[in-house]
């Protein structure tokens, strides 16, 4: 998986009190990509039964969520944990 761009999410209100970014990937997210992100830590939810499966990785200071097959996913984080986003993007760029 390669992250090619990031955009500040317009839905920050949804992630109440957090900053949220949509991270754009070079290709559509695969099972392998999603599994690869699990190493980031936190709890893992993967609803494979859905037509377009939803995944979420959540820890106390960040949430990663997305849908398999999309070329983007959301990264939300506490405002004092921006370095986590930078490290994550660097790892997958």
């Amino acid at each position: 998986m390669k992250i090619v761009d990031r955009r500040k999410s317009l839905e920050a209100c949804t992630e109440s009190g957090w900053d949220a970014f949509d991270l754009l990937t070079e290709e559509a997210l695969s099972d392998e990509d999603i599994e690869g992100m699990r190493g980031t830590g936190g709890s893992f939810l993967y609803m494979k039964q859905l037509k377009k499966p939803f995944f979420k990785i959540e820890s106390h200071n960040f949430v990663i969520k997305g849908v398999r097959g999309d070329s983007f996913f959301r990264y939300a984080l506490h405002r004092d944990a921006m370095e986590g986003l930078e490290a994550f993007v660097k790892k997958f760029s």
């Binding site: 992630e15 109440s16 859905l50 037509k51 499966p53 939803f54 979420k56 969520k65 849908v67």
Partner: protein
């Protein structure tokens, strides 16, 4: 894409609205009273006021004033009415467009009296009476229809209490204008704030307020109006409430939207949206894994649910990205009501329907929710 976020902003806009906007963009530009040419923009403003007055239930057509929307209207009203916040009775159902100005406007700063609602977002008029009886209040500010639960308040009763105790009665009709009967005169409202881009089907950046004639008011904004330009100081209190170049294109489009709504008729819109929300609530009741917040028979076109196994934000994300269905999750900019709904801190998933939605779209949403939950 299926769109169920009309409580945030209505979409798609009717063709008549888009056409009116473009015609105004292409027409000879002129301000409300500044035209030296043949433009009929003054007529557009007056026509729009007359149509909005009908939709807001007032006969005082010339007391409709344009702003950029409800938030600006409410800020201007609170600043201009000059009632100190501690003398204002308001409610837990209010949007931040009411709460934030009340708590932060320097002109009126202080803490208002905030009345509770029940677990559906409904207000008890008796609590207004109880608060008014204490004798310190000077105004009541209340939301006609909750943007979170769709709860429709007993406005006539609350207005009656306001009159009995000599209080100003300010109504936030952001969620109701265009989809529910708003009766400013019947309710004896002194002011009504509205936005143009929700159920009024107009463009964003339009809206305004109604201010009853005779209500003491000092505007927070002053500037050019194209009238009596030599006058710099208003010594007689005969203030002008619309200053600066107005949003003529937006107002032309809003006027077209209001004309469309009047031709359809609010009762017909209400009937259709009630049918849609009725089916929605029936479907939600049958779904395990979520709690329906049912605001009763008179509920407006907004339905909130609390999913039990997923966060509302996750459910909204799945609906949008896996099923192409747009909803809204979170606190919906109305933080206090959630304490009474039991939905702190995640808020709810909100489905808000509009005139353009169909029963087939409701069935699609229910099918998607069944698969997810």
């Amino acid at each position: 894409m299926i769109y169920f976020n009309h409580a945030a902003t209505s979409w798609p806009k009717p063709e008549e609205v888009k056409t009116a906007y473009m015609e105004a963009m292409n027409g000879l530009p002129s301000g409300q009273f500044r035209s030296a040419g043949v433009s009929d923009s003054g007529e557009i403003f007056g026509t729009c006021r007359a149509r909005l007055a009908r939709l807001l239930g007032t006969g005082e057509t010339d007391r409709i004033f344009f702003t950029s929307g409800s938030t600006e209207s409410l800020n201007l009203l609170f600043a201009g009415l000059k009632v100190p916040a501690p003398s204002i009775i308001t409610t837990a159902t209010e949007h931040n467009s009411v709460l934030r100005p009340l708590y932060n406007l320097t002109q009126i700063k202080g803490e208002p009296v905030v009345l509770p609602c029940d677990e559906r977002g409904l207000l008890d008029p008796a609590l207004f009476e109880e608060a008014a009886k204490k004798g310190k209040a000077r105004a009541i500010v209340v939301n006609h229809c909750s943007n979170v639960t769709g709860a429709v308040q007993a406005m006539a009763s609350i207005g009656e209490i306001a009159k009995r105790y000599g209080l100003l009665f300010v109504v936030d009709a952001s969620q109701s204008a265009g989809c529910l009967p708003v009766e400013a005169d019947l309710w004896r409202a002194d002011a009504v704030a509205f936005t143009g881009h929700k159920s009024l089907l107009g463009p964003q950046g339009t809206g305004g307020f109604y201010l009853r004639s005779g209500v003491p008011f000092v505007p927070a904004k002053f500037g050019g109006t194209g009238l009596d330009s030599r006058r710099i100081v208003y010594e007689d209190g005969d203030f002008e409430l619309e200053v600066g170049t107005q949003n003529a294109c937006g107002i032309a489009a809003l006027s077209a939207a209001a004309e469309l709504l009047l031709s359809i008729g609010v009762p017909r819109i209400r009937e259709k949206e009630k049918e849609l929300t009725g089916r929605l609530k029936e479907g939600f009741r049958a779904l395990p894994g979520l709690r329906l917040i049912d605001a009763g028979e008179d509920q407006g076109p907004v339905v909130s649910v609390q999913p039990l196994s997923l966060k509302p934000s996750d459910l909204a994300y799945i609906l949008q990205n896996s099923y192409g269905i747009v909803t809204r999750a979170g606190l919906q900019c109305a933080p206090l009501i959630h304490e009474y709904l039991g939905t702190v801190p995640e808020g709810t998933l909100r489905i808000s329907v509009g005139w353009s939605n169909t029963i087939e779209e409701i069935e699609t949403l229910l099918g998607a929710m069944e698969e997810i939950l």
